[in-house]
């Protein structure tokens, strides 16, 4: 039995401001290490909220979240950040890069912030794998959307995290660039042993995963192992029709 790298136990979270409307209503799910899991659901199902709670970016109202066996739901800043940055990488739809820093400095930034001596040879290897060799000194403003997403991915991988959280990583990209990014995420799982938890609304993207979890109205309603595009699409339709 592969160990779980992220465990969400009976987590609830309400939307800020609105009384009683729950984004997550008692969600429990475990994500195994070294696997690729997609989280899907109609809009308003709470999938981004689940991602934020699982990643420690947000505090659930109740329940527990375990990251590599350590309970993070009760941690306060700055401990939360220090724990998170060692183990977690992020690839979000808006690339969240620092525009004043070069690509190279962006890739190494998380390690420097963690006070860890950056592994430069590994970073160069990662850059090669994502296909950005030669663009180290460019600034994000000079790159295309797809290239920026790859920088974000390189940044996420350079720290050798145990899990990468991706929120609609291909949302702003065209089909072929999106496919490249998904292939890189797949390689992170297969080649580096990183777990990837990806929120997406696109069945084609979800088909790259090992497992798909479906959310609706703040609850897990279905799961799919070894997904194909057709199976995912069918399940999505069923979920949306509820």
């Amino acid at each position: 039995m592969t160990p779980t790298v992220v465990e969400v136990l009976d987590v609830t979270k309400s939307y800020p401001g609105s009384a009683g409307v729950r984004a997550l209503d008692g969600v429990s799910v475990g994500f195994a290490a070294g696997t690729f899991c997609a989280v899907m659901g109609p809009s308003g199902s709470g999938k981004s909220t689940l991602l934020h709670c699982a990643a420690g970016l947000d505090r659930p109202d109740s329940g527990r979240v375990l990251l590599a066996g350590q309970e993070i739901s009760g941690l306060r800043e700055p401990k939360l950040t220090t724990v998170r940055r060692r183990r977690v990488g992020f690839v979000f739809q808006s690339y969240n890069l620092m525009d004043s820093l070069s690509v190279w400095h962006n890739v190494l930034l998380p390690q420097r912030l963690a006070g860890v001596r950056p592994d430069r040879s590994w970073a160069r290897e990662v850059m090669r794998r994502v296909g950005l060799t030669g663009r180290e000194n460019d600034r994000p403003g000079q790159l295309s959307g797809g290239q920026r997403q790859r920088v974000a991915l390189a940044r996420a991988l350079a720290g050798r995290p145990e899990v990468i959280f991706a929120d609609e990583p291909t949302g702003a990209l065209d089909l072929s660039t999106g496919r490249e990014v998904l292939a890189l995420l797949r390689e992170a799982v297969d080649g580096f042993g990183t777990a990837v938890i990806m929120v997406t609304h696109d069945p084609a993207a979800a088909a790259w995963a090992d497992r798909v979890v479906f959310l609706a109205d703040g609850r897990i309603v279905a799961e799919l192992a070894d997904p194909t595009v057709e199976k995912v699409a069918a399940q999505m339709t069923a979920v949306s029709a509820r």
């Binding site: 970016l57 700055p78 739809q93 004043s100 912030l113 963690a114």
Partner: protein
């Protein structure tokens, strides 16, 4: 378009708060300074001593020179005049001739002369002496006792109450002709009050007045009309008899009074003129910078509007409209605040004695409206200029993470910088900074240099941050981040640093220059008085005759008496008055050292001038120069000596006898004595009213103190405003970077690390601002200092300099580090997920 503008204003309230605040303060300060200047320009004399008269004839109150130039067939006449501090006199028989004119009930010869009295009037008002006949002019009516006979005096009710005087008391009266003790024969008052505001009055017997006052004739003639007489015809008839004496009617009659009896607003006019200049500059400077910063933050939004189909012209109109609405809304509460500011400043200046006690600030709607309009106009122009390039942003920039403005405009910046810097250099080189305009001109040149710095800001800052940014590496990853970001974002760093440069340069320059002037004046004063053993002063001054007695005391080897006055000299048809002293020297040893550089101080047909004046008028020792004394009396004296130590003394040293005869006050301010032995106690015995101060202890007060206080108040106002500008700019810049800070948190930075980075950036900005500010201040202070006495000083006063550095640095650090604590308060990362 209006709906779009109002909508975006309402939505982004926070972002516009900074611009709103800047506009609010700018309009308030402009309104306040405008009201002060307006009030002082339109200040009316508080009361008219000639209220009962129809017409007043006065002697000269100014020196007027006419130059006639013939150019081909045209004759050009140029007339220039200068106010007198004294009053010219009229022929003694004129009053009698006027009385014969039909329609004239009486023509009263009015003698007005300052007297030193045991007590002063309301708010320290001077006491003016008259003949009893002058009582009819207001009129003053007797409340107690009877009119004065020889050796007697009638005092006004206000003075009587203050001094506890009543009929039968003996009071000493000092005029330029000597000290006399008179008996109070009665108390008089004008209708409905105890005395006139701004002047106390004492009335002597008419026969004694010429001898006591030393006046050759009346200073004015008040003409009382017969009941039912036609005023206009009366005025015409009087003028026919009067010849070219000045005829005054209506509200102008006040000018017939003694100039010293009327509140003097000339000094305050120049002070408030400078105040409004400084305020306007700072307000425009800060407002422009704030608006520009605000526009730059909205590049993405502008690009979005472009994708929606807006043309650059429409965006320009939108920016203009927004700015007008914003400034107009800010101006509404700003106007009453301006009134408050003006009242507070006026109160402080009154307390300092820099303005007369009767000065009040009137609320003038036009001035307030003008300030509001100016604020709106400046904001509008600033928004249009700042948006000039921004509105041409490509729509595709909307899709980009960080929109970048279209680059360029370097040529315009360099040109602007060259022009303003050139102007500053010209001012520093060609304007005599050693003269009375020195302080004001040094401010003007620092303002021009500031404009140059603002124009070239990004270029200069890029160079500076490259250096300073590398230094911050020692502070670990946060220091490295701060340095790298600062180097890349030099435009923003420049925009935030400029208010810091403004704050340091303007205030340090003013403080250091005025401190330097104060020190130089004190030094010269000490050097002048060094040869004397002690200074003798009287409670209100000594008559000139008394000096002879002092000099004749056994043990006294030298004496020097000074009578402060003002004298007028002319160049090219333009008369100008200068502070001067009547000088009386006695004894075989010098009691005063003026630092005579050329020639020797001579007799009663000669005078001495300061080297500054000699340079200005191109005189040489031996020249015969026409000089007008305080009452307009003209005399030609030969220049016998040129001296250096003029600060706190005066630009001319005139024969004391002339000054005593022709200055209305005509009293000796101090007698410097050089002596051996126990002269001091002998003086105290014989003249108990006199004070002897050994030279070592002498402290100078008076006029310079007021000026110093006024400058310091302006520095306080300026510091306050620029400080708010610094905080405001930092806040705007920080608020716009919330996303960047959220991204940093996402990359793994703890809140503490983000704070440290922001602090590092603030430190870099402060360092850059202070370096530039010190450069500007150094240039101006150096030039000013060199103009004063040839010594180039950069720092002048290490304590003040260090204080300014520390103060500005502290404010910058707090302003830079505080907003982030408010922005990053929450633990969650709200701005992360969807690029909001």
């Amino acid at each position: 378009m209006m709906r779009l503008a109002l909508g975006s204003l309402r939505r982004h309230r926070g972002a516009y708060l900074g611009t709103f605040l800047a506009a609010f303060l700018a309009v308030a300060l402009l309104a306040g300074a405008g009201l002060l200047l307006f009030s002082v320009l339109t200040a009316k004399p508080p009361a008219d001593r000639f209220a009962a008269t129809a017409v007043v004839l006065s002697g000269d109150r100014e020196v007027t020179l006419q130059t006639v130039r013939k150019k081909k067939d045209k004759v050009k006449t140029k007339t220039k005049s200068e106010r007198l501090t004294g009053a010219g006199t009229l022929p003694a028989d004129l009053a009698g001739r006027i009385a014969a004119v039909p329609g004239v009930a009486d023509a009263v010869a009015d003698y007005a002369f300052p007297v030193a009295f045991p007590v002063r009037g309301e708010d320290g008002a001077p006491v003016v002496g008259h003949g009893w006949a002058s009582a009819a002019l207001t009129p003053y009516t007797l409340e107690q006792g009877r009119p004065p006979a020889a050796g007697e005096v009638v005092v006004d009710a206000d003075l009587a109450a203050r001094g506890g005087l009543s009929t039968g008391d003996q009071v000493p009266i000092t005029t330029r002709t000597g000290v006399r003790t008179l008996r109070v024969s009665g108390v008089a008052a004008p209708a409905g009050r105890d005395g006139l505001p701004a002047q106390g009055a004492v009335f002597l017997a008419d026969r004694e007045v010429p001898a006591v006052s030393g006046l050759a004739g009346p200073t004015a003639i008040g003409v009382l009309a017969a009941p039912g007489a036609d005023r206009a015809a009366l005025a015409a008839a009087v003028r026919a008899v009067a010849g070219d004496a000045t005829l005054l009617t209506g509200a102008d009659k006040v000018r017939g009074d003694l100039p010293g009896a009327l509140p003097d607003y000339i000094g305050p006019i120049s002070i408030f003129g400078f105040t409004i200049g400084i305020t306007a500059f700072a307000a425009v400077f800060v407002l422009t910078g704030t608006v520009a910063l605000g526009v730059r933050q909205r590049l993405r939004e502008l690009a979005l509007l472009r994708t929606a189909g807006a043309t650059p012209g429409q965006l320009r109109r939108l920016l203009g409209l927004e700015s007008v609405v914003l400034a107009a809304v800010a101006a509404v509460p700003a106007m009453p605040l301006g009134v408050v500011v003006a009242r507070v400043v006026a109160a402080r200046f009154r307390a300092l004695g820099a303005v007369p006690a009767q000065f009040t600030v009137g609320v003038n709607v036009l001035v307030l409206g003008g300030a509001a309009a100016a604020g709106v106009l400046v904001t509008f122009v600033a928004a249009r200029i700042a948006g000039r390039r921004a509105v041409r942003i490509a729509p595709t920039q909307a899709l980009v993470e960080t929109a970048t403005a279209p680059r360029g405009g370097l040529l315009v910046r360099v040109l602007a910088a060259l022009v303003t810097a050139g102007g500053a250099v010209a001012v520093l080189s060609f304007v005599p900074l050693g003269g009375p305009l020195g302080m004001g001109m040094s401010f003007v040149s620092s303002a021009l240099l500031l404009c140059a710095v603002a124009a070239l800001g990004p270029v200069l800052v890029r160079a500076l941050t490259a250096v300073v940014g590398r230094l911050t590496r020692v502070a670990g990853v946060t220091g490295w981040l701060a340095g790298t970001v600062a180097r890349v974002e030099s435009r923003r760093v420049a925009a935030v640093a400029v208010p810091l440069v403004l704050m340091f340069a303007v205030n340090a320059t003013m403080l250091l220059n005025s401190s330097l002037l104060g020190r130089l004046t004190a030094d010269e004063h000490a050097a002048r008085n060094a040869p004397a053993t002690g200074q003798v002063t009287g409670p209100a001054g000594l008559p000139l005759d008394a000096v002879g007695d002092l000099a004749a005391l056994p043990g006294v080897t030298g004496a020097a008496a000074t009578l402060p006055t003002r004298a007028i000299v002319a160049q090219g048809g333009k008369p100008e008055d200068h502070p001067s002293q009547g000088l009386f020297l006695a004894g075989r040893e010098a009691a005063i050292d003026l630092g005579v550089r050329e020639g020797r101080i001579g007799g009663d047909d000669t005078f001495a001038a300061s080297s500054y004046l000699v340079r200005q008028y191109g005189w040489r020792v031996g020249d015969e120069v026409p000089i007008w004394l305080a009452d307009g009396y003209q005399v030609t004296l030969r220049l016998a000596a040129v001296y250096e130590r003029a600060r706190g003394f005066g630009d001319m040293a005139l024969p004391a006898g002339l000054v005593a005869a022709h200055d209305p006050r005509g009293l000796v301010a101090a007698v410097a004595l050089r002596y051996d032995g126990d002269v001091a106690s002998r003086i105290r015995e014989r003249w108990p009213a006199l004070r002897v101060t050994p030279t070592a202890e002498a402290v100078r007060a008076g006029d310079a103190q007021n000026q110093q206080g006024a400058w310091e108040l302006m520095v306080v106002i300026s510091l306050g405003f620029t400080a708010i500008a610094v905080v405001n700019t930092f806040a705007i810049a920080t608020a716009a970077r919330r996303r960047e800070y959220a991204d940093l948190r996402l990359a793994g930075a703890t809140a503490g690390q983000v704070h440290r980075m922001v602090t590092g950036e603030a430190a870099i900005t402060v360092a850059v601002g202070l370096l530039l500010g010190a450069a500007v201040a150094g240039i101006v202070v150096g030039a000013f200092s060199t103009a004063q006495d040839g010594v180039f000083r950069l720092i002048v006063d290490p304590v003040t300099y260090a204080g300014m550095l520390a103060g500005v640095a502290a404010l910058g650090m707090v302003a830079g580090a505080l907003p982030i604590r408010l922005v990053l308060r929450r633990r969650a990362l709200p701005a992360v997920a969807d690029g909001r």
